[in-house]
Assembly symmetry: C2
């Protein structure tokens, strides 16, 4: 995101007290509206309704929301504030089931709360805010490192296809998949991006195209179903997507429609890269079969992401609207993380990379 753009999600002190400030992504690209969440419930609503979305950005919003809850609490003992953290974590954990960064961030905040149990209430509040700010700063730094590692995989002149939005808007900034593209662009490589529109909620058309336009990176929008024939015509050099959760074996949950892109890429020998921070890897799950897949409401399909007054289909038609799918590890050429590039076999490569986190803010220990 260019310097002039507001941050995806951040902490802000206002005249009305502290807030979690975020871009309301449901209104993009038509309107750039900043929403200030003054209470935990507002952040939960913003996550559920996808005002803030993208696995890393959800993690950042959740961490900030825990800090907000303790700052807004009138409790005057640390014991009470620890209960506030527990309550906030439970509320936030119930917002969306698939992205593991949410749970990772909540675990991190609860760890800090436990470690700060001897503090007085004010110090406790400060410690929680500092921890949340670190989650955000850390995410930005991880994205930059992902970009550095990933850019080496992108040839000059490449036509890169991406699905959904794994950009600055999906993270604290810079992006994962778009971070890779951004870094390649910053290195002076001529990049052209095929942007899958990404039904039902059109994150590609609305958010990725907008981000790329802000950066001056050439792009062309396509319907999701046009990706395969572009590959057949030799017009796609590689695919880069983000991830919402990666199992220990490398199976990757990402936005619905990622799997068919991966199948087509496999058929046409197009490298298929996943870009995600190590916090996206859930070592407690042996394979993608165990990743819970969120199903969302029919109106996302029938009213085109809330943009139509009349549905596109006859009334009373059944709708099935899964938000994610799972791409098996065998279809993934490599997973680009902040600790390096995991290659096949992904299981051992991911385990190795995750054992050497670049900062003190490491992913939680495997619970398997």
């Amino acid at each position: 995101m260019s310097a002039a753009m507001p941050r995806t999600v951040c902490w802000s002190e206002t005249a009305a007290g502290p807030v979690v400030r975020l871009i309301d992504q449901t209104l993009l690209p038509g309107q750039l509206v900043i929403k200030d969440c003054r209470q935990l419930d507002e952040v939960c609503e913003a996550i559920r309704s996808l005002r803030v979305r993208g696995a890393p950005a959800i993690g950042c919003a959740a961490a900030l929301a825990v800090a907000l809850a303790v700052h807004r609490s009138v409790a005057d003992t640390t014991e009470e504030l620890i209960n506030v953290v527990g309550h906030a974590a439970r509320e936030l954990a119930a917002t969306r089931p698939t992205a593991v960064n949410l749970f990772w961030a909540l675990e991190r905040m609860q760890q800090v709360a436990e470690q700060s149990s001897d503090f007085g209430p004010d110090e406790f509040r400060a410690a929680l805010l500092q921890a949340a700010e670190e989650v955000v700063a850390d995410d930005l730094e991880r994205c930059r490192r992902i970009g550095q590692y990933g850019a080496e995989l992108i040839p000059d002149g490449a036509n890169v296809l991406t699905h959904c939005n794994a950009g600055a808007l999906a993270t604290a900034g810079y992006g994962t998949a778009l971070g890779v593209i951004r870094a390649a662009h910053e290195q002076g490589k001529q990049i052209h991006v095929w942007v899958d529109e990404t039904r039902p909620l059109l994150q590609g058309a609305r958010l990725t195209a907008w981000e790329l336009q802000q950066e001056g990176i050439a792009c062309t929008l396509i319907c999701d179903s046009a990706a395969a024939s572009l590959m057949r015509a030799g017009r796609v050099d590689c695919v880069v997507v983000g991830a919402d959760r990666i199992a220990a074996n490398g199976d990757t949950a990402n936005k619905i429609g990622t799997y068919p892109v991966a199948i087509a890429a496999g058929r046409h020998q197009v490298p298929f890269y996943v870009a995600a921070p190590c916090s996206t890897v859930d070592f407690s799950l042996p394979s993608g079969d165990e990743i819970p897949i969120e199903e969302r409401g029919p109106e996302e399909v029938t009213y085109i992401a809330g943009r139509l007054a009349q549905p596109i289909c006859p009334a009373e038609v059944n709708i099935f609207n899964p938000a994610f799918d799972v791409t098996p590890a065998e279809l993934i050429t490599a997973i680009i993380t902040e600790a390096g590039v995991a290659v096949q076999p992904l299981a051992s490569s991911l385990a190795e990379l995750s054992s050497e986190p670049f900062s003190s803010l490491s992913a939680p220990e495997s619970s398997s």
Copy 2:
């Protein structure tokens, strides 16, 4: 289509003279509007703007439009009327490039015009109308036979996935892919249909879901990109789609998005059937590489088939909007025609079936 529904496209004598009468499919499912085309130009516009669409229905509309042109012509010699036929055929041939049934129907009408060159003007007009009516009646009969052959391939209790609309609305009636589903349903089989919404123009959501609802056939609408994960979950027993042009080797051009469905079906060993009349096979083309693929305007993508006031993406974003893709023969389990089911190897099987047309109205000779 149920008995109460108007015909997709037909000839009608009105107080204002003869017309080509058609359902304006751009307004479905919100409104069922019948459009009377009084001049050739109106039929051309209806084909270009997809008021009438679907390869067989376009062929029917074109045949009727040639008859309309000679009936509306004030010419008083047969020689002049033969020129009217030639002019009409050229205008109609320029409307859409991919569906071969259009060219087949025009060739048929020109053959009849040549064979009728000794007739007086009134007899000539009558002969052309009879020929056009035969194209329509013949299409309906072919669809019924496709349904009979195809229904044998659909198990009782099957979950059938289809893409776009190859139904009554895409033909003179009954449909090709939906004809197969309709026939299986009429045989008492319990069928459930997964309906791909079919971006950009949403023919699945708008037309196929509507047709199936009219018939009382159970269906569930999905985004195109959800088909692959349904197959992975074992929830799709077979795929049946239509075709806009089939090359001699069996490579099949159909609505954009058919190819990724076929790739996913191949990966998951889900039978993938194409249902189309023999007139869809273009024996002059050795492979699908030679099939011209129509590109359409960006507004179909950005304004969601004309249903939005504001585009879904930022202004000035490039759009690539191919209307069709080509599924290679190797991914097609069988092609269901009115002459029987072509199996692998498709090239020889198609040639054999097409040499035994069921009626006098055979497809044109190969021009290769």
